[in-house]
């Protein structure tokens, strides 16, 4: 023990240790690399995409993949590869964007409920329970109907319906942390509430929140595609995986390429995020090593 400690004298911080554990999970690392690549691609999509997403080539409708159209063309002769890139970009925007909304609402509601307790907690948690038990997809449809089908409004709608899990998580952690012994110790030392929250509560909540966000991103992407499938997603000709798959299904017997590529990139992206989420969950829990 003595020896072991001396070797690690510089100390392994929580984050350094977490990264060490994360690196051991090969699938998570692969997922992370994939995600970094698609984020970079998404930033530069307008320059990378060979064609605009809405440029039709009426002479080349339903074309199979070729040197000119790498992933073929659709019913209007639009380049499937370009459309896929834009769909990916939209999906990432909605995935990350919706989680920002989730984070804001969830943290606010969860921490108010957790810190205040009592009746406010009861009321907030009742609302959260309804949100949690309710098939939120319906709310999404109604919200999108109300707010319109823009990229931003969809992102907000997904966030507005998806915060219940985050609120529960934050509340649970606040309830636990505010009575945890080390927080009690800080209080006994005479620390002010603001200091306790900043130095004791927030840092210890970060891990689980990050994990929850990591799982929330694919969920957001998923919901957008679901909306798009029933014609409530982003407005055509703007592509999304949902409306591309929806359109492709109509021609699935004759031109399966129209659906194969979006389905595969879509599924791959969701899996990548989930593996990263899994990796983070194990990595950010120090007990998982034992």
């Amino acid at each position: 023990m003595e020896v072991a400690l001396k070797q690690r004298r510089r100390g392994t911080s929580y984050w350094a240790a977490a990264w060490r554990r994360f690196k051991k999970n090969k699938m998570a690392v692969a997922g992370l690399i994939y995600i970094i690549i698609i984020i970079i691609i998404s930033i530069f999509t307008p320059w990378i995409a060979p064609y605009p997403y809405d440029e039709p080539h009426y002479a080349h409708t339903f074309e199979k993949p070729s040197a000119r159209f790498w992933w073929g063309t659709d019913d209007l002769g639009r380049d499937m590869f370009s459309r896929n890139l834009y769909a990916m970009r939209n999906a990432l925007l909605i995935g990350f964007g919706s989680q920002i909304v989730v984070l804001i609402i969830g943290v606010i509601i969860g921490s108010i409920a957790g810190f205040r307790g009592g009746r406010i907690d009861t009321i907030l948690m009742r609302i959260t329970d309804i949100m949690y038990a309710f098939p939120t997809f319906l709310f999404n449809v109604i919200l999108v109907t109300v707010m319109g089908r823009g990229l931003f409004t969809i992102l907000v709608a997904v966030g507005l319906t998806g915060w219940a899990g985050m609120a529960r998580l934050v509340r649970g952690m606040v309830m636990y942390l505010k009575n945890a012994e080390f927080v009690e110790a800080a209080r006994a030392l005479g620390a002010k509430e603001g200091y306790i929250i900043r130095k004791y509560i927030l840092p210890n909540m970060l891990g689980p929140i990050i994990v929850s966000l990591a799982f929330g991103i694919p969920n957001g992407i998923w919901i957008e595609s679901g909306l798009a499938l029933i014609g409530m997603g982003v407005r055509p000709p703007m592509p999304s995986w949902g409306n591309m798959i929806g359109a492709g299904v109509a021609y699935i017997m004759a031109f399966p390429h129209m659906v194969i590529f979006p389905v595969l990139t879509f599924a791959l992206t969701l899996l990548a995020f989930t593996y990263v989420g899994d990796g983070l969950r194990d990595a950010l829990n120090p007990r998982s090593e034992v």
Partner: protein, 315 residues
């Protein structure tokens, strides 16, 4: 010696499903400067709640806590915060009591940061000194709590409590989660600190031997109330309350002179639920000398010989 802490008629009730859990029920005691009070009790006796009430980490319902001449219950916000420099706490679970996101050094330094004491370098030097006082190497300053063994973690907890030079420390079962050899180390460290810095402890434990070693006076708690309170030697040599007697008799003793004990004097039953106690003496359900009066009337907590208080109809 002047009295450092006087607790009078302290009460803390918790509502549990429309019933009352009397965790601390009208408790009074006092501790002189440099003196240690041992607080003995089994689970559910309310000893930990009492310890936290004294520091106002749990807000008591009523009573007085006079620390250094000031009633803590009358203090608000900043005043109380400043007072906290002089009274500290050490916890049972050393790992849980340290902030896992801070290094050992930062954990120990934190009280100084909170009270804005010294420059960065001065604080660093203070932390190194504290590490040495509690018997840890300076080179461990940048390690994290989870890399330590339980005994080392508890030393860090003690160093943090010492950082502000407190006069009084509540030690809430500080050794009960540790191994025997480590227990002994921590107990002797606490003893050494008591002598060296003239610290008063409220030493909470279920272990009668540890309490005897560190305390000057001992209070025995049962279901929220102190049933017996006396100077140490008096309590161990001449226990009066049937519960205290049973506690002392149920612990195996070191058979140094070859006489071994295969059977132990055992109290019947177990600690009943502290919710909705019946009228009369709270020990009635387990007392072998129970009388009618015990079931009707709560015994008064009275002084039977100088400094020796007991709450029992039989005494």
């Amino acid at each position: 010696m002047p009295e450092l802490l006087v607790v009078k008629n302290l009460k803390k009730y918790f509502p549990v499903r429309k019933k009352l859990l009397k965790a601390v029920d009208n408790v009074s005691f006092s501790i002189e400067q440099g003196e240690t009070l041992g607080l003995v009790g089994e689970s559910g006796s309310g000893k930990s709640t009492l310890g936290r009430c004294v520091l106002r980490l749990i807000e008591p319902d009523s009573g007085e806590i006079i620390f250094d001449g000031v009633d803590l219950r009358k203090l608000k916000g900043e005043e109380l915060r400043q007072r906290r420099r002089f009274m500290q706490i050490i916890f049972q679970d050393p790992l849980a009591s340290l902030n896992p996101m801070m290094t050992i050094g930062q954990n120990i330094e934190d009280p100084l940061v909170i009270h804005n004491i010294g420059t960065k370098e001065e604080r660093r030097r203070a932390v190194e000194e504290l590490l040495e006082i509690v018997g840890l190497g300076r080179d461990l300053i940048d390690a994290f709590p989870h890399e330590f063994s339980g005994g080392q973690q508890q030393r860090v907890g003690i160093a943090r409590a010492l950082a502000l030079n407190p006069k009084f420390i509540v030690a809430d079962e500080p050794v009960s989660s540790l191994d025997v050899s480590i227990q002994a180390q921590i107990v002797s460290l606490l003893y050494e600190l008591k002598i060296r810095f003239k610290i008063s402890y409220l030493f909470i434990s279920h272990d009668l031997a540890v309490v005897r070693y560190l305390s000057d006076k001992v209070a025995v708690m049962y279901l929220g109330a102190i049933v017996e309170y006396a100077p140490k030697e008096e309590l161990y040599e001449n226990p009066l309350h049937p519960y205290t007697r049973a506690l002392l008799a149920s612990v195996p003793k070191m058979p140094k002179d070859g006489e071994r004990q295969k059977r132990f004097l055992a109290l019947k039953g177990e600690v009943p639920s502290p919710i909705d106690l019946p009228p009369g003496c709270r020990f009635q359900s387990r007392c072998e000398y129970v009388m009618d009066v015990c079931r009707k009337q709560e015994p008064a907590f009275r002084e039977v010989s100088p400094g020796h208080f007991v709450a029992c109809h039989l005494v």
